[in-house]
């Protein structure tokens, strides 16, 4: 997002207190997750931005090793050592209920934005941190809202709170939690206790292989009941009843009997349904589906896709859908992010993305699907996905790109609107925007790299 837009949206946020329904539920800004090994640092997710609205399905598509699953795990707080979400990343969870709940539970960690602006001078804050204005999409340190700096994890250095767990609240009158009209929970910097209030409860996840997400020694019903007890406070008969209802809701026939069966007595599709039932047990606002149908047959895949669409419609949840299958993405998504080597290389609504793909990688991916050109040779993308083990000062796709030119080796492309008209269709490629000359286009990418190079 360009600097002007970013500040414009902040102004708008300050101007209106009500009517924030158009804010995204999840706002991912400059997310960077790296794994630190003896040999090298792998930047599995390397500075990505995207938003998901309530009731929207956002697809993330890419080959293996592109960082799709690490993105999901970063949102869930499931990154384990030697991996870490880096400073500078911000994942904002904007559900008002959740913000109030957190403000009640963690008053010391709640920071009012007005306070921040009054107490700190952005330039001074920058002086104490290793951050650069470019990380936040600005050129001048004076312009960067202090809340952005704080949310990105520079609280310690700037002396805003001690420790790095904080909840930020854009507060109307600085009063009680109930008077909060807007704000966000910074998901990437929560403590274990606070994390558990989000994970499972607010954001639930469905994994690829249902057999490994179910415990073989407990009945399916038992496992759903466990989730209900933990998150909903139900117990005994009520929980058992609710578990059976959930199984029925996800389309398992004869649910009352099935509740007492073990995972091995379920077929693959049924197991995935059971896992989805478990995810729904906590009535989450957002469902992350990480390749939920990859292990299933097409006919069963069709059932599960129908089910997820039904759930979304009836419960108005936001869905983040990860897959490598372009066909599935076209079927389920409202908006699509194409990932390559830890970066989002193209982002657009599903229609324009498939009708008019812009990034050479997206083109290559779509062309290599059999079916387009019967009888002919399939077109391929030469080479393989590189391991993103250094901060890129070049385009990571350039070595495989049929359209690469000299600058691709020396300028790192950032997501840019593909032309004047299409604001919400971006591509991280030096060819864009395509309504200006190549030199101008390259110039727009230069020096706009937003990743810090801290290790």
């Amino acid at each position: 997002m360009a600097a002007e837009e970013r500040s414009a949206s902040t102004d708008a946020a300050a101007a209106t207190d009500e009517g924030r329904s158009d804010d995204p539920l999840i706002d991912v800004r400059n997310l960077q997750t790296a794994f630190f090994t003896d040999k090298e640092t792998i930047r599995a997710v390397d500075g990505i931005d995207f938003q998901i609205d309530s009731g929207q399905t956002v697809g993330i598509v890419g080959e293996s090793g592109s960082g799709k699953s690490v993105t999901a795990r970063s949102l869930m707080g499931l990154i384990e050592s030697p991996g870490r979400v880096l400073q500078g990343s911000s994942v904002r969870y904007r559900d008002l209920d959740a913000v109030r709940e957190f403000a009640r539970a963690f008053p010391k960690r709640t920071v009012a934005v007005e306070d921040l602006d009054a107490r700190y001078d952005p330039a001074e804050v920058f002086g104490q941190t290793a951050a650069t204005p470019a990380e936040f999409g600005y050129t001048d340190p004076e312009d960067v809202p202090v809340v952005d700096v704080a949310a990105a994890g520079y609280t310690d250095e700037a002396g805003i709170t001690d420790g790095d767990e904080c909840v930020f609240v854009l507060d109307g009158d600085g009063g009680s939690p109930e008077s909060i009209r807007d704000g966000f929970v910074e998901v990437t910097r929560l403590s274990g206790k606070a994390q558990r209030k989000i994970r499972g409860n607010r954001i639930a996840m469905v994994f690829q292989d249902p057999l490994t997400s179910l415990n073989p020694v407990y009945t399916v019903g038992n496992q759903i009941v466990e989730a209900l007890e933990l998150h909903q406070g139900l117990s005994g008969k009520a929980a058992a009843q609710e578990a059976a209802d959930l199984l029925e809701a996800v389309g398992i026939p004869d649910a009352r009997r099935r509740v007492n069966e073990y995972p091995h007595q379920f077929s693959g599709g049924m197991r995935q349904r059971a896992v989805i039932a478990m995810a729904l047990a906590c009535e989450p606002d957002m469902l992350i589906c990480d390749e939920p149908t990859t292990a299933l047959d097409v006919t069963i895949q069709a059932q599960i896709l129908d089910l997820i669409a039904d759930i979304q419609e009836s419960r108005d949840v936001a869905v983040m859908f990860i897959t490598h299958d372009m066909g599935v993405i076209a079927d389920v998504s409202d908006r699509v992010n194409v990932m390559y080597a830890g970066e989002i290389v193209e982002s657009a609504d599903v229609g324009p993305l498939f009708a008019d793909p812009k990034h050479p990688y997206t083109n290559g991916l779509l062309d290599s699907i059999p079916g387009g050109q019967v009888g002919d040779k399939l077109s391929t993308i030469d080479g393989s996905v590189p391991t993103p083990n250094e901060p890129a000062t070049y385009c990571r796709f350039a070595p495989r790109c049929p359209k690469a030119f000299d600058e691709c080796e020396s300028v790192h492309p950032v997501p840019t609107p593909v032309d004047e008209e299409s604001d919400d269709h971006t591509a991280a490629c030096l060819l864009y925007p395509d309504d200006v000359s190549t030199e101008d286009a390259v110039a727009r990418h230069q020096g706009r790299d937003r990743r810090g190079d801290r290790e």
Binding site: R257, T299, A302, G327, A330, F354, G371
Partner: protein, 454 residues
């Protein structure tokens, strides 16, 4: 279901008959459970007949558990056939033993799905590819080394990879190594068992191109087993669609994809998500899962999920929701019949205590709660539910079939006691065959029925 002696060979022995390489006749592969109480075998392949022509790629598609891999393995004698014949150029290989089998095996090889587990991590690439040559004592060791290097070149790797280990290669490269190994003895026939399912789409395209090149160069004949239908459409000349151990439809690829005849082919094709968000989304979603191949349904194997199942005339006008309910009901009863019962359950049942099986009423409400059920249908269904609650599942099924069963469920429309199975009907000039009662003239066309009901 074993009398499928009808040949699935297209066009019989027409004068322009293509050069047949493999003739499969009524092939059956059963797995015995060896259980004390329940000795019904798993009918993985249940009487299939088809031909494979020299130089063609025959696709074999179907859901997991339909028997496609077992069929592929049986064709090259990695599994012993329970019955039937596999004639390779006239030799029935199911009867080969010992040295003869060892000799013959040079002609037929297999590429496996998972390139991670099909290569031995402790052997170098050279040793892996050389192994078949060593086993068959091919020429001198120096010749073998040369041959391996030539093969590495052939599959797009280089001879310097000879001394490396599998973990140093990516998935696509490993699959290339697997392909080089199968080529080492110059086979005529290769079974490709899901060779690209574990690969990313751009890598997948490279392997498919490689397989096509190799086929041209070495005149190979492929049996291509896959569940990804878009890949099959690209690479195969003809396709066989399998369901529960039976071939449901077999014919030329394009024809089968553009104008499927069998209801199962219809459903399978409509379930593929297309990389085009504007494509119509009126896919046929099949209910439930394929039945257990240990207990296949009577009649047509697909009858339990078929979107175009023939309904008895007197009930033709019932609503589709009600039919869905009736079919679901039947499945639940069948399911209960098979469900494992613990000793505790059996004891509880014996003493008339409530078991988890005794909740038929709730199930009944679940299925028919919000559907309008005509009285005469309701009477039958309540009756069936009562029988099922008494744990006489077989009786309940029989009662349900007597009322709502049709030829698809193996019920003889003329009142005969025998079980009726579908036949293969020739559905086009190219000799495409489909295993379905709908092709009989007295029934309506599959496509129109599916349209009506959806």
């Amino acid at each position: 279901m074993s009398q499928n002696t009808v040949s699935t060979t297209p066009g019989a022995e027409a004068e322009t008959a293509p050069d047949t390489m493999v003739k499969v006749r009524d092939l059956k592969t059963y797995y015995d459970s060896g259980g004390l109480f329940d000795d019904r075998p798993v009918k993985a392949v249940d009487g299939v007949s088809f031909d494979i022509y020299r130089g063609e790629t025959l696709g074999l598609v179907g859901e997991s558990g339909c028997g496609k891999t077992t069929l592929g393995r049986t064709l090259i004698q990695l599994e012993a056939a329970t019955g039937g014949e596999v004639l390779f150029d006239g030799t029935d290989i199911t009867s080969l033993r010992g040295d003869q089998l060892y000799e013959w095996r040079q002609n037929a090889q297999m590429v496996f799905q998972d390139p991670d587990s099909s290569l031995n991590d402790r052997m170098t690439i050279g040793e892996i590819i050389r192994e078949p040559l060593d086993v068959h004592d091919w020429k001198t060791p120096a010749d073998r080394r040369e041959r391996v290097k030539a093969l590495l070149d052939e599959v797009g790797l280089s001879s310097e990879h000879y001394y490396r280990y599998p973990h140093q290669f990516s998935g696509g490269q490993r699959q290339r190594i697997g392909i080089a190994r199968t080529l080492s003895l110059n086979p005529d026939f290769i079974v490709l068992d899901e060779p690209v399912s574990a690969l990313d789409v751009s890598v997948q395209a490279e392997i498919i191109n490689l397989l096509e090149d190799l086929q041209d160069e070495f005149d190979l004949t492929y049996l291509f087993i896959a569940h990804d239908l878009s890949v099959v459409r690209h690479i195969c000349d003809r396709v066989a669609v399998m369901y529960l151990g039976n071939i449901m439809e077999i014919g030329p690829t394009e024809e089968l994809f553009t104008d499927p005849a069998n209801p199962y082919t219809h459903a399978l094709l409509s379930a593929i998500p297309k990389p085009d968000p504007t494509a119509s989304r009126d896919r046929i979603t099949l209910h439930g899962t394929p039945p257990n191949p240990r207990y296949p349904p009577t009649g047509c194997p697909f009858s339990t999920r078929c979107p175009a199942r023939i309904r008895p005339d007197e009930y033709e006008d019932l609503s589709d929701e009600l039919w869905d309910g009736i079919n679901g009901f039947r499945e639940i009863i069948r399911e209960r019949m098979r469900a494992d019962r613990s000793i505790r359950e059996r004891v509880r049942e014996r003493f008339g205590m409530e078991t988890r099986f005794a909740t038929m009423d709730e199930t009944y409400d679940e299925l028919f709660g919000d559907v309008a059920v005509p009285d005469e249908v309701d009477r039958v269904l309540t009756d069936v539910a009562d029988i099922a609650s008494e744990h006489d599942e077989q009786d309940a099924i029989d009662r349900l079939n007597a009322e709502f069963g049709s030829i698809c469920d193996g019920v003889d429309p003329n009142g005969g006691a025998g079980e009726i199975e579908p036949e293969y009907y020739e559905v086009s000039d190219s000799g495409r065959l489909s295993y379905c009662h709908r092709h009989d003239e007295e029934h309506r066309e599959t496509a129109t029925v599916i349209d009506d009901r959806s």
